[in-house]
């Protein structure tokens, strides 16, 4: 078990999300920076999609009640374990009673804490992820609060032989504010000028953004047609343009269907960057081909596979 001492701004239990229930209107949920969650899990010997804790903007503290392996990935928040520095991207063996404290992030937005055995909240509809909109999953379907206690599962891989009882680190993915985008089905319904502006604008991430979607501020995108679209399936990464011409990037908690024109889709391999770019900063979209997108995703998967081999090949 572990106890949340200081819950921070928005901390939730997340795994790799729900699949198979979209046609019932149930969102995907899950970690916004999936590679960071995967790497944290691999470091502590978990299957990569186990549930961990997603911490937004640091300022978080937790106490462990059992000896365990832990790892922190994603945003670097000057973390300390009982006052000694703890590096992100490394695994540590913690003793019962020790406290992990995160300050404000130096770089990035979201940190992921994994513990060997994973956070063992009930599996609901195939996942332990918190659905904040429908209020289920995670811990009672809500944001974690001070004093919350989270159960820990049984470790799958045992890392407790002497050779391995030392901290070890891996390389993490770096994030970029140039995001690769595939043109969307309604791209050509926007004026020539707006299509150019889409690629040329420095889009500012509005503070009015959340796990459902990131709102962007910049040049107004003008659609040349005013025909309403019939409601259709949408996915994390889809860039919608509502009537005000300011795009919205859909993320893990987005609803399953929508009706706004889709000007583009962020490639799956670049989605994690959005989890880490601080709100208020700007991003740019870069056009990309299907082949490039597929290659980028395969490359990312290989990177994570190699981490797993590096840790557990012997």
């Amino acid at each position: 078990m572990l106890t949340i001492i200081k819950s921070g701004l928005l901390t939730t239990v997340q795994d790799s999300g729900r699949t198979g229930y979209r046609q019932l209107g149930i969102s995907q949920s899950g970690a916004l920076d999936l590679p960071a969650l995967y790497i944290a899990n691999l470091l502590v010997g978990n299957p990569r999609d186990y549930a961990g804790i997603e911490i937004t903007l640091g300022q978080f503290a937790v106490q462990f009640h059992q000896d365990s392996w832990i790892a922190l990935t994603g945003a670097d928040c000057n973390a300390t374990l009982d006052d000694s520095p703890l590096w992100t991207g490394w695994r540590y063996f913690v003793r019962a009673g020790q406290q992990l404290v995160l300050q404000q992030p130096v770089r990035g937005m979201r940190s992921y804490l994994a513990i060997s055995g994973g956070i063992d909240v009930p599996v609901i509809l195939g996942s332990r992820s918190t659905d904040l909109v429908a209020k289920f999953g995670g811990l009672d379907g809500r944001i974690l609060q001070n004093g919350d206690e989270l159960p820990i599962g049984q470790p799958v891989r045992f890392l407790d032989d002497q050779k391995r009882k030392k901290s070890i680190g891996v390389q993490q993915l770096t994030f970029d504010n140039r995001i690769r985008v595939l043109s969307g089905p309604e791209m050509d319904q926007f004026s020539q000028q707006s299509q150019r502006n889409f690629w040329r604008t420095n889009w500012h991430l509005s503070p009015n953004s959340n796990r459902m979607g990131y709102r962007l501020n910049g040049d107004q995108l003008r659609r040349t047609s005013d025909s309403e679209l019939l409601s259709h399936g949408v996915l994390p990464g889809v860039i919608q343009v509502p009537h005000n011409g300011q795009p919205i990037i859909l993320l893990s908690d987005a609803q399953t269907t929508g009706g706004y024109p889709k000007i583009g889709t962020i490639i799956a391999a670049d989605l994690y960057c959005l989890a880490q770019i601080p709100l208020g900063e700007s991003i740019r979209f870069r056009p990309c081909t299907l082949a490039e997108a597929a290659e980028a995703l395969e490359k990312q998967q290989r990177f994570i596979d190699q981490i797993e081999w590096g840790l557990y090949a012997d």
Binding site: G20, G25, L182, P185, T257
Partner: protein, 225 residues
């Protein structure tokens, strides 16, 4: 289904990102097309290369297991599946929803009645006399997009959306009617409420309604009826 020939427009196909393919029809909305969408959805959801399917209004989004390097091969595959989907029949379920219309549970019933030039009783009669089809589910868990509301009941949305619509509210928004499964902000006119749970994430079948269901509203004697 009878055998009358229905002339349906050609669908368009496109990729949505590198891991989803879509078949979509332009308006006007057709129940005939929607029936084939449900059938196709059912057929595709069993395939290894398909993660899941999302029926929309006369369209279907298919989430794929692997990223596509080219658009044409997957689009051709979907086209073939669509062309072969004439024959499939999806069994439909009939679900009765018991509604207490009006009073505190349907605070906008007087407004709807006034707008439609009917008495409250007539609105309830009209709303409860029709059979509705669940075209698809979206917006939130178990929220059904229903077709076939009588035109006499079309009522514009509220100028000021409510911050919290009670769970189970039956509402009218423009030409549509629906049931709110969760407490949520909403701008539709509330005409009644049901006690039946629309969404229970711990149940084997988490939502009461599924695409393709037909539903009837049955007025409870406690309310306007």
């Amino acid at each position: 289904m009878n055998n009358k020939k229905i002339v349906s427009p050609d669908p368009h196909f496109y990729l949505l990102g590198e891991k989803a393919v879509v078949i979509a029809f332009s308006p006007p909305i057709s129940l005939e097309i929607q029936r084939r969408i449900w059938a196709l959805a059912k057929q595709l959801s069993g395939l290894d290369e398909v993660v899941e399917v999302v029926p929309g209004m006369n369209n279907l989004t298919v989430l794929l297991t692997y990223p596509q390097r080219q658009a044409a091969p997957i689009i051709n595959k979907l086209k073939k599946r669509w062309e072969g989907s004439h024959a499939i029949e999806v069994p439909t379920r009939c679900i009765d929803i018991y509604v207490t219309y009006g009073k505190e549970l349907g605070p906008d019933l007087p407004f709807v009645a006034k707008h439609c030039g009917m008495t409250e009783k007539q609105v309830v009669e009209c709303h409860a006399s029709s059979t509705y089809t669940v075209y698809f589910i979206g917006f939130q868990p178990g929220f059904a997009y229903l077709g076939d509301m009588p035109a006499a009941l079309h009522t514009p949305r509220r100028a000021e959306p409510r911050l919290a619509v009670p769970q189970g509210s039956i509402a009218i928004g423009g030409s549509q009617t629906g049931i709110y499964p969760l407490v949520t902000p909403g701008g539709w006119q509330l005409i009644g409420q049901t006690q039946q749970p629309l969404f229970d994430p711990t149940a084997a079948s988490p939502t009461l309604l599924q695409p393709g269901d037909t539903i009837r509203f049955i007025p409870n004697p406690e309310g306007v009826c």
